[in-house]
Amino acid sequence: MPIHDSKSAAETHLHLHSHLPSDPALRVKALESLAIERGIVTTETLDNWVEAYREHIGPRRGAEVIGKAWADQDFHARLMENAAEAIKELGHEGQATGDLKAVENTDKVHNLVVCTLCSCYPFGILGISPPWYRSAAYRARAVREPRAVLLEFGVNIADDVEVRVWDSTAELRYLVVPQRPKGTDGFSEEMLSKLVTRNSMIGTDRDLRAGEV
């Protein structure tokens, strides 16, 4: 295997930056044409790929997992034991879920997920990450002042609640299991899943409400 040279790659970056159009839309369009002419991929495949992530692979998948975990104690146990395997029961495995760990909020614990070194995210189960998750401000601050960040998201963590920040440094991805809202006894898995927000599975939302159905 070749040992790639970081200095050469940095120089290629600079070279390409000065030679290619600055508008990313133009560059990506050219890349697509090139990939098609080279026989790497077809337009139809790319269309379907976009469609898959626009309509099918998104936070509703994660919400279904959470709804099921709230309603089904055995599934909950399997999810906490090995989330990567458990989500396969719903057919929701996918990109970056091969090593998945569920971490659970309680009255005295709040979990928050970040990737300080890039923007690792369990795409297969939560879809495309929201821009704030990839922002320098979130990546910089989530590990240093998680309570201040949470407050900006409207989440006020009481002093006696422990905050656990998970910095996704390896291929392990983290899924926060929020607390089941009060007043949801007898709700079906589907009804429950509708209460789950994307942010609550990352940790920037905490108190879900039954009234949000």
Binding site: A10, P24, E162, A170
Partner: protein, 217 residues
């Protein structure tokens, strides 16, 4: 590498700008770039090489480029470095040599393919793990100039092992397409150990760390 990407704990970035109604992509080129990223790339483009190429962007480009534009530059730099694409081809969008199209994937085919991406980074190795859950450990004092996944804020700090995950592909070598798996642990640090006595007493920051990132406390 002590690069601009190592953002954990950095100050001066202001508030987090939230997006209320974010669905999947903000623009259509971002969606196309996302899809293309699954197909374009040299055989050496491991996830770690992909990440390292982003880390090697000029620092200002790193901070100002859109997320998917960093993907673009990572992937095209890989292709140019590998000699597969030329800068002229990237500029014009015209291939110097053409090839017949592959079979297309239907939506169902895409969904099935994506399910197949659920691959673990876990690998079996013979050596027994050195550390065990409950043990106090220290992280390495020094950084590594290439690609590595020990954030600067968590270097030379003491924490306890709260989980063991078997052995996983090592990013430091996988950047060059060599898996060299090592035991992987989750290390918990008290925020006060990372940031000093002003941090909240009951904040904890967890990272996943390969065995070579650790030393005995």
């Amino acid at each position: 590498m002590d690069g601009i990407h190592d953002l954990g704990g950095k100050q001066g970035f202001g508030t987090v700008k939230q997006q209320r109604d974010f669905i999947a992509f903000e623009t259509s080129w971002e969606a196309r770039m996302w899809a293309l990223s699954f197909f374009v790339g040299s055989p050496d483009l491991t996830t770690d090489r992909f990440r390292h190429l982003i880390e090697l962007l000029d620092p200002v480009d790193y901070l100002t480029h859109n997320y998917f534009d960093k993907w673009y530059f990572s992937i095209v730099t890989d292709m140019v470095e590998s000699g597969i694409f030329s800068d002229e081809e990237l500029k014009s969008g015209r291939a110097s040599v053409s090839a017949p199209p592959p079979a297309s994937l239907s939506l169902a085919g895409v969904l099935e393919t994506v399910r197949g991406y659920s691959r673990s980074a876990k690998r079996e190795i013979d050596d027994a793990p050195i550390y065990s859950v409950g043990q106090i450990v220290r992280t390495q004092k020094y950084g590594i100039s290439g690609h590595t996944r020990l954030p600067a804020y968590a270097r030379n700090r003491q924490g306890d092992v709260i989980a063991y995950h078997g052995s996983h592909v090592l990013p430091d070598t996988n950047v060059n397409n060599v898996e060299a798996p090592q035991h992987l642990y989750t290390i918990r640090f008290a925020a006060q150990e990372l940031w000093g006595p002003d941090a909240a007493q009951n904040d904890f920051i967890n990272i996943d760390a390969w065995e070579s990132y650790l030393v005995r406390a």
